[in-house]
């Protein structure tokens, strides 16, 4: 980790807060346009190509907890993402007994170090949901506005997939997809019988090179650990570091932004931040400020940016800032495939994600809920680590004894050991990720009573699911059970019912939260205009998912990247025209 603190006299054309998908893309596009850029990141620097930073290809015995998750790496001890749901000294709170969990990554590349690299374009319908079902609002832009940027993102970063010609699942510039794994073929057998389509996954790993800068995938299934040859996408390896090599980009690490500073005319003049190294306050000046700190963190910064010219914070005058917070829905089910007991062994790692998935396939007019979901699949002979062989008290009964009767659960000894081996690689998992309806009543706001350890007021969340999402989760559970059964699998555990909202994950858990500073043509009902420029501060822009009017049943990253590129082009244009 490297520390870098500059004197407060430094001035830049643009300050970018955050180095994830949105901030990373802005740093690349703006610096290539010849602008001087400061990237201000709350965490440390990180480069997986450095041997001392590498967690990829480390076996579990190089971790005393054998790869189990920790507070700051809840997805595993070798996971690249540093931060988690609960960061020491950086609390958030919840209101009226509602739930919201907030996953943050404090490091260069932000949460692109964590995500599953599922890289889906929003389709034409995804920008016009209100026109289709009367719920929520349309975006002020449509697919045609963003398509050229999706095309550029595909070519710059790389995504594998197959051209399908499905209207609302637009095709792109795809690299060759990898062949399916065995469990994916079992699931496909079940899905076929249920008339649920399954197509090759669309993930941003390089199955073939796109340039000479990045390596090609060597199939270790560990993208979540960050790739030492940069064969998967993360904003640090593919955007921020290349931008630093080529352009005028300074990276400020361990720098926690308190507020955007403004002048008497209400224009942004830079940022004020706390260095986590010496706990002192620093100020940087710039002509333009770009927030890419994540939907909620950017909203928090805007709320905290109070001044005489912006007494309610920047964008805080119309009561929309922080509102319409929404996450994807999520529910899951797993099963065990008896035909895979004692299966043949071979290297089945593949890429760090699914080789096949299911895009939304039904017509909501015939259903009792709005909006759809896609299905992600997991399973196979993944790396044994912490947790391997657990649950034999419940799992052994799926095996048969010599007389063909179910074995007794639990036990010990050589027989137990053999049965762990017999069951290895026979489990499959199905997970739905769906679109929720954005609501004014789901929001984040400043908690008047709590500050973080830097003295910065923290967020308080208020979020409830509605019948729309609960019915969608019910549909997921019914579909999953049908696919599992048709695939020859035995569904595991109890089918989730109304008592648990059908297993619907708590808001925030899917880590697709968006919408807090949404864009719109009407300054009364939105915070940003269609170029992601603040209505009330024309040299302040937001390039993370805060601008989303609605979060489709697609993972948001590809759209963050495309929108950030589009906004960055607009910033260059406006600077050239001297409009800002």
């Amino acid at each position: 980790m490297s520390f870098q603190i500059k004197s407060s006299t430094d001035s830049y054309d643009v300050i970018i807060v955050g180095s994830g998908a949105g901030g990373g893309m802005a740093s690349k596009v703006l610096s290539e346009a010849g602008l001087s850029v400061a990237v201000v990141e709350a965490g440390g620097d990180f480069d997986p190509a450095k041997e001392e930073d590498r967690t990829q290809l480390r076996p579990p015995w190089e971790s005393p907890r054998r790869g189990a998750g920790t507070r700051i790496r809840p997805f595993g001890d070798f996971d690249a993402a540093i931060g988690g749901w609960d960061i020491e000294g950086e609390p958030y709170t919840r209101k009226n007994g509602t739930e919201f969990d907030w996953f943050r990554s404090r490091m260069v590349g932000g949460r692109t170090n964590h995500w599953g690299r599922i890289s889906l374009r929003f389709g034409p319908n995804d920008f016009k949901r209100a026109s289709i079902d009367g719920l929520g609002d349309d975006w002020p832009i449509g697919y045609d506005d963003i398509k050229p940027y999706y095309d550029k993102v595909d070519k710059l970063i790389g995504v594998f997939g197959s051209k399908e010609g499905i209207y609302n699942e637009p095709d792109g510039f795809f690299l060759p997809p990898p062949k399916p794994r065995l469990h994916e073929l079992f699931i496909k057998k079940g899905a076929d019988q249920s008339n649920v389509p399954m197509i090759p996954g669309r993930l941003s790993m390089l199955t073939r090179p796109i340039n000479n800068e990045r390596g090609v995938c060597f199939f270790c299934r560990q993208c979540n650990r960050a790739c030492q040859v940069y064969a998967d996408f993360s904003a640090g390896t593919c955007l921020v570091h290349p931008a630093m090599k080529k352009g005028k980009v300074d990276l400020y690490t361990h720098s926690m932004v308190r507020k955007v500073t403004t002048n008497e005319e209400g224009k942004a003049t830079g940022v004020s931040f706390v260095s986590k190294v010496d706990m002192k306050e620093y100020k940087l000046k710039s002509r333009v400020v770009v927030l890419g700190a994540s939907a909620c963190e950017s909203a928090r910064i805007m709320m905290n940016s109070k001044s005489t010219s912006h007494p309610n914070g920047i964008g805080g005058d119309n009561g929309i800032l922080g509102r319409y917070l929404h996450d994807s829905t999520g529910a899951s089910r797993s099963g065990i495939v008896p035909a895979l007991f004692g299966r043949d062994r071979y290297n089945e790692d593949g890429v760090g994600g699914m080789h096949m998935y299911t895009p939304w396939w039904l017509d909501n007019k015939k259903l009792d809920f709005a909006r759809g979901y896609h299905i992600e699949y997991s399973g196979g002979m993944s790396q044994p680590g912490y947790g391997e062989g657990s649950g034999m008290d419940a799992m052994r009964k799926y095996l048969k004894d010599e007389f063909g009767n179910p074995k007794e659960g639990g036990g010990y000894g050589e027989g137990l050991k053999k049965d762990v081996r017999e069951l290895y690689g026979a489990r499959i998992g199905l997970a739905g990720r769906g679109e929720s309806v954005p609501r004014y009543d789901n929001y984040c706001e400043i908690d008047p009573n709590t500050v973080d350890k830097y003295g910065i007021p923290v967020l308080r969340f208020h979020y409830n699911w509605t019948d729309q999402e609960i019915k969608q989760a019910k549909h997921m559970q019914d579909t999953f059970e049908e696919i599992l059964t048709n695939a020859g699998a035995i569904p595991l555990g109890k089918k989730q019912g109304p008592e648990t909202n059908y297993g619907l994950a708590a808001p925030g858990r899917i880590i697709h939260e968006v919408g807090t500073v949404r864009m719109g043509n009407d300054p009364k009902t939105s915070v940003l205009n269609s170029n992601c420029q603040a209505h009330t501060c024309n040299n302040l822009f937001v390039v993370d998912a805060g601008s989303f009017v609605s979060q489709a049943d697609k993972n948001p990253t590809w759209t963050i990247l495309a929108l950030s590129w589009r906004t960055s082009d607009y910033i260059v244009d406006q600077l050239n025209k001297k409009n800002i």
Partner: protein, 235 residues
């Protein structure tokens, strides 16, 4: 080895397999027990993580007597056999020692279960657990190892034994010997070219016809991709 060299090897395919791991010095290839003692998790760590691992590694949770009990129990759960070592041989109790400190909510149930052994040993045989014969130990294990059969008075101890079994399996199959036993073949650079044909045949699967022309062809994985304006791969 720098990234450029890695790339070169990976582009050429098979050579990468062994060499990619040569960055690890001999000390990183040490036995699991030693790796546990040598320090915390390898690879990128924050100061906070490094400090925490060091603290946990310097503390002691289990008493000597508790370790003796664990040594007996984990080898009953995973014994040595003709093809693989026992749980104690791969350091399962040391792993559990760390987990108790890393996940402290395990501490009370684990300690409680180990204490119950003495109570039960005294009830049944009139002496402490560590003085029991092998047969007597098995008699006690039998009371709690089979959740469906266990009588209601042992339900608490059954839960503890489930936890012990889970942790023993975790600690065993996350070692090199555990990998070998379970037959894990991954975690090494390769070119994925689908499920081996004989496995496909065995389960009666064939690849979806329509995707066969577009799946990754291993011989092309060094060729920089180019597309026409319609998004068709042309190079």
């Amino acid at each position: 080895m720098n990234r450029r060299e890695n790339l070169k090897l990976l582009f050429t395919g098979s050579v990468g397999t062994g060499l990619l791991l040569t960055g690890c010095g001999p000390e990183e290839q040490a036995l699991p027990e030693n790796a546990l003692l040598a320090g915390g998790t390898k690879g990128y760590r924050t100061e906070e993580e490094r400090k925490r691992d060091q603290e946990l590694l310097s503390e002691t949770f289990f008493t000597e007597e508790e370790i003796k009990k664990l040594n007996i129990l984990v080898d009953i759960i995973i014994p040595k056999d003709s093809e693989s070592p026992s749980a104690t041989e791969v350091g399962v109790p040391e792993f559990m020692e760390f987990i108790m400190k890393d996940m402290p909510n395990n501490q009370t149930p684990m300690r409680g279960g180990l204490m119950w052994l003495d109570y039960e040993a005294d009830e049944k045989f009139g002496k402490p657990f560590l003085e029991l014969s092998n047969d007597q130990v098995i008699e006690i294990v039998e009371l709690v190892a089979w959740p469906e059969r266990a009588s209601p008075e042992y339900q608490g101890a059954v839960k503890w034994f489930n936890m012990l079994r889970n942790l023993t399996c975790s600690g065993y199959f996350s070692t090199e010997a555990g990998w070998k036993y379970i037959g894990y073949k991954g975690n090494q650079p390769n070119v994925w070219d689908g499920v081996p044909q004989e496995v496909m045949d065995k389960h009666g699967f064939s690849l979806p016809e329509k995707y066969i022309p577009i799946y990754l062809k291993p011989e092309q994985r060094g060729v920089v991709a180019t597309w026409d304006d319609e998004g068709n791969l042309i190079g």
